[in-house]
Amino acid sequence: MDFSVFVQLLLPGLTTGCVYALVALGFVLCANVSEVVNFAQGEYVMLGGVVAAWLFAHQVPLVVCILLATAAGALLGALQERLTLAPVRSSPYFIQITITLGVAVVLRGVALIAFGKDPLSMPGFTGDGVFEVAGAVVPVQSLWVWGSTALLLAVIFWFLKFTDPGRAVRACSINLQAARLMGVDTGKLTLAVFAVAGGAGALAGVVITPIVLANWDAGIAYGLKGFIGAILGNFRSPGIAVLGGLGIGILESFAAGYLSSGYKDAIVYGVLLAYLLVRGGVFVFGRLSLQLK
């Protein structure tokens, strides 16, 4: 296989990886401020997609679809935190994590009932055309996926690095207890971070929908791959988690293209397994082990 095949595998892998990266970032941000792995994270990608596609099918202008779907993700993220996690903040972690799994199941069920089982589609933001790079054919919508991911990541990293709430998030990731003692309102911060994570996931779902369609059961796959990215980032480093997500998308594509499509998932999960074994600390999320209180 020649260079054009390499590019043909690389670029679509990068596109899928962008979604995994945003999901991984959501996992890391939520885990840092709440100490909880939010397994509903992938469902926000699904929701963003189905809400936007459904609105578009009902003649809502595209820009409004994008904004409303992203806002819906942010709102649901905030509601998830307020209604299902805040009331059980002092409960053991495994209970809180199990609740996030329950939220994921509920979101899938609601999406199935509200939007139906058939995949929903929407056109590319600037048409459904393709462009060629070094002999590889790529949908134009991929540019929107790459661009919006880059923009969103830039805004989030700027927020984390240069704003007071961002510094508070980083402080929480270093020592949650100390951050609280220093006056950080972790309740409000957690609410805001869940909203941002929900919105980012939903936006990822919106921009990827013209390429992969939106389906009520699509969130599981995004959630699992994003979860691997977050593990690679040790549930602490947003940057490594993002790179992990991007890497998984590309690895998946290369594995299917150069080895066999049948081994695609086995290789991705094999890499995760190898990483965890080499690292020697299974399920260490930042400074905290997943322990039963």
Partner: protein, 370 residues
């Protein structure tokens, strides 16, 4: 005395009416996927069956149905089957559920000794046969036979495939591997995907590199839409054949229009070709279309064939469970909308490759491929 005569007369009339209604009733238990992923197909099947009831039915008998939903779940299907099969009044059972659920029920079929007419395309539903379970639609091997025959007829020698990793997809490629050498075909690429996959780029890149003469895509649902779009985007020019389950309203909606699928080929049951199928099939198709009041979709034709099989089995039996079973097994070349139905002691598949033709989409309708 007068009062006694009145009472006796009333009793005789009551008994006569009870007897008449018992004689006229024919009770069918139905396990159908009224919800879940197979719901649309099950509804179309029921519509086709109801069209048969309207057009023909069972003369002199009133059909009573007990319908249970399996929620497109094999465990629920088994439980629902147990419930309807336990009803001593049920004389025949229909399974309007997907292959994996039918396979779950097959393991219980002989336990209750009720004749069953089932949907599903998996080969193992009909062969080896369960004495009480009768499949209708052709098996996967029959569809792959038609694909191989068509490729040979057109002089194609290199075929590439992309199949799902589930049992259906693997049955397709297993059958094709067995058939290909007999038809002078070489499988130059055999790719797989998970039904929840959203990117097929890598698989299609490998297929393109293999330089096939013809491509078979076994995807259905969302995967069918995404692979079709990826084939178009990557500029494939080779003839593309898809499974008949790929083409649906959702498929047309997602690819933009019915015209966008023009030229796409699929091995399809002859009923879907409508009048172009000719002979008994065209006549029965006309009956179905008239009863439905619109052109039928594939699962309507399947439902109508279930009705025709029921009609023949009841007509050739005493109406008992054993009698209906024996009559089903004795059916030979019964005309159906999709083609002739034949059962034997060794094979309960029903229709075979004779009921399939290579179709081509043209403005949303199937026409015979060149």
């Amino acid at each position: 005395m007068k009062r006694l005569i009145v009472w006796l007369s009333a009793a005789i009339v009551a008994i006569a009416f009870t007897g008449a209604s018992a004689q006229q009733e024919f009770k069918i238990g139905v396990v159908a996927s009224l919800s879940g992923g197979f719901a649309a197909a099950a509804k179309d099947t029921m519509d086709g069956y109801k069209a048969w009831e309207k057009a023909r039915g069972l003369p002199g008998r009133k059909i009573v149905m007990e319908v249970l939903d399996d929620e497109t779940n094999p465990v629920s299907a088994s439980n629902a089957f147990r419930r309807v099969a336990s009803d001593p009044g049920v004389q025949l059972i229909y399974l309007f559920i997907p292959s994996n659920s039918v396979m779950a029920v097959k393991s219980l079929a002989s336990e209750f000794k009720v004749p069953i007419v089932a949907g599903g395309a998996a080969d193992a539903i009909g062969v080896p046969p369960d004495p009480w379970l009768f499949k209708v639609a052709p098996a996967v091997r029959d569809f792959m036979t038609v694909l191989s025959q068509y490729s040979q007829k057109k002089g194609y020698q290199r075929i590439a495939t992309i199949n799902s990793t589930d049992a259906f997809g693997q049955a397709e490629i297993t059958n094709l591997r067995a058939l290909a050498p007999k038809h002078g075909l070489q499988i130059v690429a055999s790719e797989t995907f998970g039904v929840e996959d959203t990117s097929f780029n890598a698989q299609l890149t490998r297929i393109r590199a293999a330089k096939p003469d013809i491509i078979y895509n076994g995807a259905s649902g969302r995967a069918a839409i995404l692979t079709f779009r990826a084939f178009k985007q990557m500029g494939f020019k080779e003839p593309l054949v898809v499974t008949q389950a790929a083409v649906s309203k959702a498929f047309y909606d997602a690819i933009g229009s019915v015209d966008a699928a023009d030229g796409l080929m699929t091995p399809i049951q002859l009923g879907s070709l409508g009048p172009a199928a000719g002979g008994d099939m065209a006549k029965l198709y006309g009956e179905l279309e008239k009863a439905l009041g619109r052109p039928p979709v594939y699962f309507n034709t399947f439902g109508y064939d279930v009705g025709l099989i029921t009609e023949a089995a009841v007509k050739n039996s005493n109406g008992s469970r054993q009698g209906i079973r024996d009559a089903l097994e004795a059916l030979k070349d019964l005309p159906g909308v999709n083609g002739p139905v034949t059962y034997s002691k060794e094979d309960h598949t029903g229709q075979n490759f004779r009921s399939i033709g290579m179709g081509k989409l043209q403005k949303g309708r199937h026409v015979p491929a060149d």
